[in-house]
Symmetry: C2
């Protein structure tokens, strides 16, 4: 006996309007691919999303959204009204990428594969949101809920979810959003129902410096830093709850023949579970202290000792949406009905913020396949069958959650 969730999804998928929406996405698939390429080549490092935000806003202008605008944090928001008196749901994709200004973003195409930094995470999602809007409009689909479409800032790294924090804590729609879906990265199989928590630190190791030959034997902050990184790399972490660490970005020193005054590294600690994350954080802070103490012990502090300046640069709340809630069940039913086996997973996404506030939230995929995210070799495959099947599954999820009038 089919339950309410499966019945709702089946009814949507069997409707003429949905078939027409899918036909529109199919007919316009090349246009969507062009949108992906256009947006990918507009750089958008976290905190510098402005150019891409404006590009997306201009593209969205023809899509009949109400109150299409950039908010004070830099998110672009626009409302697709429902039939009235319904709830508001939010569908988002993020503007920013992990790649710094100046990265070569030129898209390279090999058959149906497209290569460029950020192309899958999450530039494809931005283009898919526009395709959803055109498909709904072409099919004349009206929903019960208002749907707030958002192209948001600060999802990656040091952005620290600033776009979502603003939307849910200060923006004009705060306290009105009853469900949240972020369309982020191609993979349809993984439905994210849990928000991985993270703590990020910049640790600057400072010392007296000096001439590399003349002052040889005095403490060198590079050795303390290397020791801290090495110790972290040997920390055992559980597979479940998945708990991870990385030493990610580094810099410092002035010249080849100077013992540096100051070197720094950015560290990323994550876990599905608050408890495991807190434990790793304590271990990490202990490691930094131990590495500093060891360097001060093994070399001379006659000109001064090594000290570590520890600055927390990111703190993302963990959270989760019950797997019994309608929201992930609608997503699973719609996505599996399109032929994708699914699993519920934990990750760190825009959904962390609503989850941490008790608002049901999930991440679903944008369709197609892809890989090597956050590396310069990032790629997606826009082979139309898999791409469109994923998009149809995403649209069915949104319509099931919003309700079709």
């Amino acid at each position: 006996m089919a339950d309410h969730v499966e019945t709702t999804v089946r009814q949507i998928m069997e409707s003429g309007a949905f078939r027409q929406a899918v036909a529109t996405m199919t007919a316009e698939h090349d246009r969507m691919v062009r949108d992906i390429i256009t947006l990918t080549e507009v750089e958008a490092p976290s905190f510098q999303e402005d150019a891409r935000a404006r590009a997306w806003l201009e593209m969205a202008r023809a899509h009949g959204l109400e109150d299409l605008e950039m908010d004070r944090e830099g998110n672009v928001t626009g409302l697709r009204r429902g039939i009235g008196n319904g709830p508001m749901i939010c569908v988002a994709a993020h503007l920013d990428t992990v790649f710094p200004a100046g990265t070569d973003l030129k898209v390279r195409r090999e058959g149906t594969k497209l290569f460029a930094p950020g192309i899958g995470d999450d530039t494809r999602g931005l283009a898919v949101l526009l395709a959803f809007l055109r498909a709904m409009d072409a099919a004349g689909i009206r929903t019960r809920a208002d749907i707030l479409f958002v192209a948001d800032v600060g999802e990656e790294g040091t952005g620290d979810l600033r776009g979502m924090r603003h939307l849910f804590q200060q923006g004009r729609y705060k306290d009105r959003i009853s469900a949240f879906i972020t369309v982020d990265s191609p993979d349809m199989n993984r439905i994210v129902t849990g928000g991985v928590g993270s703590k990020r630190y910049r640790v600057t190791f400072k010392g007296p410096g000096g001439h590399s030959y003349g002052a040889f034997g005095v403490v060198n902050p590079m050795f303390a830093m290397a020791d801290a990184i090495g110790r972290l790399g040997r920390v055992p972490v559980p597979d479940r709850p998945k708990t991870t660490y990385s030493a990610s970005v580094t810099g410092g020193g002035t010249s080849i023949n100077s013992i540096p005054n100051s070197v720094w590294t950015d560290f990323d600690l994550r876990s599905e579970a608050i408890g495991a994350l807190d434990a790793l954080e304590q271990q990490f802070l202990g490691i930094v202290d131990a590495a500093v103490a060891a360097e001060n012990e093994v070399r001379s502090t006659r000109n001064g000792a090594i000290v570590a300046e520890i600055v927390k640069i990111g703190d993302r709340p963990a959270g989760n949406t019950s797997e019994n809630h309608e929201l992930p069940r609608f997503a699973r039913a719609a996505i599996e009905a399109h032929g994708f086996p699914t699993s519920y997973e934990y990750s760190s996404t825009d959904a962390n913020i609503p989850m941490s506030l008790g608002i049901p939230a999930i991440k679903i995929g944008s369709g197609g396949t892809g890989g090597r995210q956050h590396s310069l070799d990032e790629w997606i495959d826009v082979e139309p069958d898999a791409s469109l099947r994923g998009m149809a599954a995403g649209l069915a999820t949104i319509l099931a959650v919003a309700g079709v009038a």
Copy 2:
């Protein structure tokens, strides 16, 4: 029984001309301090010495040098002719500092102490050369040898002695210089008769990169690099011949939530002895290989393995001037006659190049005291008594070597 060296130095010091030269330096000490401050505040990182070179050239213009000019490498050279048919000796100070463009170079004064990056190494030397010229001119001193005065580029770090290589291997005075004295840093006690050899490497550790959470468990080049730095820090090196190492400058990585594709560190290896340096170099190269192999062993290489790209960025020849040669003996006699106990030492200075070519060469001090070279806290003390006593010792050395007509 006084030998020829001591007799020569005594005769110079007792001469009326020398006393008049010292009186001129004394009368103009404040002017020399102003020159130090002026030159210190003109930035001159290695490879970017041009502004300071032009400033020194303008200051030198009133000092009656022949053929005052900037050579193709950026050295400023000017000849003070001797009485003719004599040899040519060279007296140098270096223009460049270890501090990158943008470093705050404003000189801070506390009593007779002056604080600023590069002020002692070797900006004071540049001003002292001008003071020597004015003192000789005022006293009407003529020398048997021609004296080539040089403010040279590329003494520090990655400059790799490029100024000296040009002067001795390609410049218009090559094959004509029979003795070389560099006036570098305040300390009068240490006469450098040996050139410390050095090998410098930039090692870039590359890997597949990936998402810090999603790809956790794959190899991270930061761990390989930290391991290499850590292993180097544990290498025992002999006190004699003094042999040293430093991890000096580092960088790399793109974002806090990415396992980096690429990180790098600059390493400095030095020794008084070629054999010990070669041994340390082989050990270092083995360490890099071992650290890369260890990371590839302990984490997954499913997306690719760590590799190290090893680039030699500096290679300074070792060399030395026999302590029996007149040149260091003149320096020792002149400096000790001014009340400074001396020792012969090894260092890495501009003198390495002539030493490696078999040309007698030494480094002497510029007078006064100072400390914390190559750190942002660098200082000198220009208290006139000690400052002038050192300068007089330096001038006596030069006159003894050049011969007074």
